[in-house]
């Protein structure tokens, strides 16, 4: 008699609000944070995407705009949501992650649904103000884990930008997976039913807030995808309102990518790209000189070949 399969859908719905890149979470008192998630009903659901939109709405009162599939996780041993759904204790859970983007991080009707800052889960990913403080302790713990293994050490160095290695903002998932492997993600010990590494308590919040089941892995996948995609698809505009200032756009990109950008070069590249168009109207709410409002030229996608954004780094 073969084991039952259950498909769990989880959604990373991302937005920029209140000066932070945020993700839609469901918080239940006494439990780690969760993404909106639910089982896929093979009778009712015509497509994953429709099913996903339905239960995200139900759980959060929110309907994301842009949606794309991220990855399907099927490995045994990594705790997955819904393991006991449907009365079938021993179900094998396959976890399908989705990424949704929205400009409207406001309307959240349901109780428990909140917009959490993504840096709370990955404090080491924010390089906007230089090397993040969280990395100091992580570096020590990782060097300790690497020990005399040259392979481990080189992986650590490259991923976490140690010893002059450059920071690569896209490798969020690889970094999280390395921390998991090193036992520095709380989820690792939990999945094995063991007690956590004492190093975790020591480092405290530098290791980031854990999440239910494999949700932090899905969130890391989402952030990797999003940071990469910024560069070759104009996805950032899915997170912007209809009219925005160039500073607001740059801020949004910086919050998502976690790096500071060079203002003028960002603007010049944007201009060349033809992705935006001035509206001739001004935003008076800036606190300084009023800024011109721009809109995303959706029609520009038609003619262009490399419709991404250039991310000209600002060294400090």
């Amino acid at each position: 008699m073969s084991q039952r399969i259950v498909i769990g859908l989880s959604a990373v719905v991302a937005a920029v609000a209140d000066g932070e890149a945020r993700v839609l979470t469901v918080r239940t008192p006494g439990q780690p944070a969760a993404l909106p998630f639910g089982p896929f009903d093979p009778e009712a659901g015509r497509t994953f995407e429709i099913a996903l939109r339905t239960f995200v709405s139900a759980q959060t009162g929110f309907n994301p705009g842009y949606v794309e599939q991220l990855y399907t996780f099927g490995d045994k041993g990594r705790d997955a949501p819904l393991a006991a759904v449907d009365g079938a204790q021993a179900a094998r859970v396959i976890s399908v992650g989705y990424l949704g983007l929205t400009a409207r991080a406001d309307t959240v009707a349901q109780a428990g649904a909140t917009w959490s800052a993504i840096t709370g889960f990955f404090p080491w990913e924010n390089w906007r103000d230089g090397r993040p403080a969280a990395l100091a302790g992580i570096e020590a713990a990782l060097r300790n884990w690497a020990g005399a293994s040259a392979a481990r050490l080189s992986r650590v160095r490259l991923l976490f930008a140690l010893d002059e290695a450059p920071w690569n903002d896209e490798r969020v998932l690889e970094r999280y997976e390395l921390l998991y492997e090193a036992g520095l993600a709380q989820e690792a010990a939990r999945d094995r039913g063991e007690t956590p590494d004492p190093a975790i308590a020591l480092l405290g919040p530098a290791l980031g807030e854990p999440m239910i089941s494999d949700h932090r892995r899905i969130l890391a996948t989402a952030l990797s995808r999003l940071r990469g995609k910024l560069r070759y698809r104009p996805v950032i505009f899915e997170m912007m309102p209809d009219a925005f200032t160039l500073s607001a756009l740059q801020k949004a990109v910086e919050l998502v990518a976690g790096v500071p950008l060079h203002k003028q070069n960002f603007r010049r590249a944007l201009e060349r790209s033809g992705l935006v168009e001035g509206l001739g109207r001004l935003d008076q709410e800036t606190g300084g000189r009023p800024a011109e409002l721009f809109r995303f030229r959706r029609e520009s996608l038609a003619s262009r070949s490399a419709p991404g954004l250039s991310l000209p780094l600002l060294r400090d």
Copy 2:
């Protein structure tokens, strides 16, 4: 009583051999071509990847090297493999596609397993010798399908490079999906249980050989992913032997990307990239002047930040 879920794994194993980009197929007399595929056994399989490697070996006698997950297809109405597996007629099939790359398109032990040229399935994707002949008939049929709809017409123009629009080699999946939507892929009528559009017979082989269930969609996904990935990861080397000439490398890239490249600019960019290293040995089998052999410097990945290949187009 809820419907059963079955997970079908399918593998696109790609290689370059005999002057063609090829894919590992399983051919059964009287049936359309198939990718190696099989059900995922939730008891036995620890991960999808292990299960995949196991049945690809079993069905083809071949073990791919590099493997990555492509996409999970779950929509009802698109025929999926294994619908009747396990005695459960009404099972809902979720199809997980994988991409595998290999340099060794030789050892195929199993009967029925063959390396098929990818252009056989997508004749319109080969622009190495200029605009493919297959596009002439397709263009007419697509314009007919678009009719007076401006939205359809603009999609067709952009994807199939009509009216001076530039060709974008990466959008293989979108092109195939458009042909499916327009009823020009044989699979479309088959999935709906209808008789095929008479235009299909008229156009003949220009529309490409169909495949079983959703395998041509998975193949299109794979080619899209591979063409895109060439540019930002050195995946092409997974399809090359340990030692190769620069011409062979360029040929491989051209076969995969389906476009001709500018020799000297390709070489200069490659040199700058530091991805390859001359071996000081010569290949005498060129038919002309012997060529120097090169190897892929795996260690170069450590230090680099943008480890892709530049694809300098050759206009003719």
